[in-house]
Subunit: 666 residues, 2 copies
């Protein structure tokens, strides 16, 4: 069936009150980024090798082989088109399929860059960048996740042979989860307990060759394989997340990544003069990219749900006239528009984190570590906040699409399944929030000693005011004042942190208090993270922003973001006395008004993401809104529809109908 | 790899402070139900034909065929074992795989029983119960879901031939979603607009034959197929959810289900004397089963998460000693124990709904419709509440299992994917809550006229007290008083409903008010539904319950359920003035104490569900706690591990490593 070219959303688009082209640049971050992104997205979308609409119908083996084909095609195209690193990375992004290239470029190469000596970088990076070797990154073990210090794998130095012996002493020590490990990688950076002279010296990375470069068979002493299927059809099942067991595998001494710690020929272990804090710089970097990914994933889901909500009609007519667009219902708006606002909020806080990372890096190079703990806490918290919200939001968008959201052709099931691990990897979200809370409690307890809080905690310096202030909001419009909104968020966060610090001090030891009050601590951490996101968004909309009506739209979204949080956490705002029940009601009224204002712009606000239909991968989210014909065309392509009478009829359906099953009873 | 028999959870089990055997009976509902359930679960678990651990690795066609095989085996075993209807239904339940039998027995047969005349039942039910025909149920259309009145399919009476002409006038009118339709069913009950004498007469059901009973090919005028893959691997992809387009398909007049409405030979349409309200009785029945299913699904997820949280250890030790069980962390407890409590809460409210259905049926047969609207609202609300909570809870349990929860071998991804449609089918959850809210507002506005509220709204009769009361809680222990807890829940629900009624009256029309305030209405409806669940749970734990310590454990769970809701919705409890911030803090303190009390009993409380390892389908949730060896054994069974070097190496990996891709650039 040919899907006719139509624009069912033209009417929606004609209602936009702002310059969509200008908003596209704001969303991208700059004209340059927009251009690169747009070009790469189109290259992928127009190449039939990158089709992804059959992904959810394939069995595991076919699916994996299909991904190998695509990855090879990525390498080929990147070479043919002589892409820059920036372009190649965008190309991979739009191929939108988890595969070993992600780990090779995203973890293996950076690990060598970050933890290898100059000599080691000179040896390994050319091999890696030409892809003469393919690498991955193995930290977690079958029995060990968040707690890196609990890893069991050992790397024991043997001074006789000048080698390390990499060994897995138990089943729970098997490396488990690394992407690209199971079937593809030739090399791995493996994290293990360094043992030398009978003593333990902490966890370090070691480069180990896994497979023969001749025939790809595992090297002696290495038991390796795939860990099995994962959440979702398609999704991460394209990736060979793997396990590996090392049975006393020997590697040369110089395969230990020695930037921070050297082991000498004699087996002496000495820390280098490169400060260990540099590692935190890397964490800031990685988590900043995760926040950025959150805004991509969230905006993609929101784009699908907004467009389909404008197409889909339900109820609202008594006499078979045309039904009401679902997007016109307040219940739909109140679930969907805060997510649209969150997508923009996360985009901007992600941009700001890029700046923060650059700032931290510059300071580290000048041996200034003063802002590091705060930057570390801030990125940890934002990683947790944005990924949790995004995971829930994708599922909410799926539900907002009604029954059809459950079809893989909606794109949402796979998006959810691919996204949710972000809540767990690079720091479990709850564990991270507890780290943030620890930092906040420390910050609060040092206020008395006159220590000035820095960075995103600066507002806590205003302690007296924040403890006493009462919101001045006395009309719905007051909730459009940045100062009113910010004060409420800062006061709530500060009061929750202060209450935690106070309650902890009632316990016999701080550790006992931390353990017992961890629920409150998590809530305080979230409140602080929301201060960061709200204040960055407010900052953004106070800047000059070119383009007709662009700034006005962003202001509306900014206040939707803030006010929906006040509603969501009204218990905290009320119990800390930051606002009164009456003021909460005023905020809700204003929120409803803002929903009405964003309504005519909703479709254009998701158009501003500039996503191709290929990237969206959704019959419901198509740019032209031709939803139903596309759903039908997609259904016809399911392998089950290859034949009218299904395989299995003769063996398993006919005998039921013809009572052969029954007869067997006689 | 042989998994050795161990009991890693023995220590946990030895700590139980109650009689687990007695709790099993409480959970099942009766000794009889326990026995039947236990026997059927074991029959399935011990039959290799019902293995399900390879389900997530299969492509669509293989997966579907595999299900056809299992369904035929179900029919065979049910015959061989001469199972009763009750037993056969449990057997199908434990096979735990969506398939056409669900629709045949769960929708097609009941539709004929409920809507067919006696004559029609005599004709069709024997055919169906011998499975000489296989039926399904087709209501939703590609463009029409919740709004049954918006259906487009027509059934036009042709008096010349005494036939109905079933017709799909547009693409959006194609029936879309019915399970069993795509590839298996020979017959369908299809809902269509009855047209006779050029006039429309509403929506009714018609039995249409779809496929030849000789060779299974679709009959003339019928275009039919599968709608494509759905959320998750395995999951509902075992089912042929289908579409069908009718091109003027003729059926005899007596294929219209005529219990409520008859069409005569002349084409006259006359309503029968069977009251239409009977239809609501069916809805009460169906939704009651959905609430019951919610407690199954939720308890299954909780069982997995609790057991694995007792096995898994993270952090908590400085010197490589044994790490802390994850279940000992307050953050884990505060996320997991409320879900454990909710599983029990939903189980008991589900049991109560069974009673309600019996009561309603009895009254309907005596032509007493007085309790029907309240019973209808109550079941609609509970369907919405329990399915929303359960869907979120399964995903939360998955996250609580850390990274391994993302593996299909954890059982949780598939459980989630199979469960979530419950939020959408049989009434979208938000639409249902709005119906409840409408009923509540009506109830409130009739109070002034002296109309006494009935059933679960009886508490609203106590209007004056509920508007004015202030909670008397002045210590954490006060929050263990049923009257204190109930009063807070009733006051909050009532005040929210009253506020809605008041605010709606400020709008020009009630409809405008309903539309604008729908967000508040949804919140009021949830508050009311929570009153129902809390009060049924309190009632339950006030009864005599046999078994050492059983009642005490249920009391703990009851208060965890209630107090975690007070925390979750503290904004509403505070803003309505039902409790003070100080009282909220006391409730939290009590909640933490309760978590400590449930901790030693947690594993035994999930043992009481009496789930077989087959039914759980989870390496993490195994009864013996032998988690890691099982994860490994499962991984080795993945098809990708059939060979050490993966299919695709020669074509797609070797050329990358050997730079053949690069060379193509020259």
């Amino acid at each position: 069936m040919v899907v006719a070219s139509v624009d069912n959303l033209a009417d929606e688009r004609s209602k936009a009150q702002f310059d969509v082209g200008a908003m596209k640049i704001v969303w991208a971050g700059s004209k340059h980024v927009f251009d690169v992104t747009d070009r790469m997205a189109r290259i992928v979308a127009s190449d039939p090798e990158f089709r992804k609409d059959n992904r959810t119908t394939l069995g595991r083996k076919e699916l994996f082989k299909n991904t190998l084909r695509k990855m090879a095609h990525v390498v080929k195209r990147a070479n043919e088109l002589r892409l820059t690193e920036e372009e190649a990375s965008k190309l991979r992004f739009f191929v939108d399929e988890p595969g070993y290239l992600d780990l090779h470029w995203g973890m293996f190469v950076p690990a060598i860059k970050g933890q290898g000596t100059e000599e080691q970088q000179e040896k390994w990076l050319p091999l890696a960048s030409r892809m003469e070797i393919i690498g991955c990154y193995a930290q977690t073990e079958l029995g060990h996740g968040s707690n890196v210090q609990g890893l069991e794998t050992t790397a024991t130095f043997d001074p006789k042979t000048d080698e390390f012996i990499i060994h897995s002493p138990s089943l729970t020590s098997y490396k488990w989860w690394p992407g690209g490990l199971g079937k593809v990688s030739t090399h791995v950076v493996v994290y293990a307990r360094l043992v030398s002279g009978g003593q333990e010296h902490g966890i370090y990375g070691f480069i180990v060759q896994l497979r023969s470069l001749d025939d790809h068979t595992p090297l002696p002493g290495i038991i390796i394989g795939d860990i099995g299927t994962k959440f979702g059809s398609g999704a991460y099942n394209t990736m060979d997340n793997g396990f590996v067991c090392f049975n006393r595998v020997r590697i040369p001494r110089n395969h230990m990544l020695m930037r921070f710690c050297q082991v000498t020929r004699e087996g002496n272990v000495c820390l280098s003069d490169v400060p260990k804090q540099m590692v935190y710089g890397t964490m800031v970097y990685v988590r900043q990219t995760i926040v950025s990914d959150a805004s991509w994933a969230l905006s993609r889901a929101v784009c699908i749900a907004v467009r389909y909500s404008a197409i889909r009609r339900q109820f609202g007519s008594q006499d078979r006239g045309i039904e009401t667009q679902v997007l016109d219902y307040k219940t739909q708006q109140s679930r969907l528009f805060p997510l649209l606002a969150s997508a923009y909020a996360f985009r901007f806080v992600g941009e700001w984190l890029k700046w923060l990372y650059a700032d931290v890096t510059e300071r580290l190079q000048a041996n200034d570590f003063s802002t590091l703990p705060e930057a570390h806490a801030c990125t940890a918290g934002l990683k947790s906040l944005t990924t949790s919200v995004t995971a829930d939001a994708i599922e909410e968008c799926r539900k907002l699409c009604g029954g059809h959201g459950y079809l893989c052709s909606s794109g949402l099931p796979e998006l959810f399944a691919v996204y949710v691990p972000a809540c767990t990897y690079e720091g479990d979200n709850v564990v991270l929030l507890l780290q943030v809370a620890r930092f906040l409690v420390k910050t609060v307890s040092r206020l008395a000693a006159g220590k000035k809080p820095v960075g995103t905690t600066t507002y806590m310096g205003n302690a007296e005011h924040l403890m006493q202030c009462k919101s001045s909001a006395s009309s719905p419009e007051d909730w459009l004042k940045p100062s009113v909104v910010l004060e409420a968020f800062e006061a709530r966060a500060f009061r929750l942190a202060v209450a935690c610090a106070r309650d902890i001090s009632k316990f016999s030891t701080p550790e006992a208090g931390f353990a017992e009050l961890s629920i409150d601590l998590v809530e305080a951490a979230i409140a602080h993270c929301e201060v960061i996101v709200v204040s960055r968004f407010i900052e953004k909309v106070q800047q000059d922003i070119p383009g007709d009506g662009v700034k006005e739209q962003l202001q509306i979204l900014c206040f939707i973001y803030a006010l929906h949080l006040i509603h969501k956490h009204s218990g905290e705002f009320l119990s800390t006395g930051c606002i009164t029940p009456e003021q909460a009601t005023l905020a809700n009224e204003q929120l409803r008004t803002l929903y009405g204002q964003v309504r005519p712009n909703a479709v254009s606000l998701v158009d501003a993401f500039n996503y191709t239909d290929h990237y969206l991968g959704s019959a419901l989210g198509r740019y032209d809104g031709n939803v139903y014909a596309t759903l039908y065309a997609q259904a016809l392509r399911d392998p089950l529809n290859d034949t009218v009478v299904p395989d299995g009829y003769e063996e398993f359906i006919r005998p039921v109908l013809k009572q052969t099953m029954r007869l067997s009873r006689l």
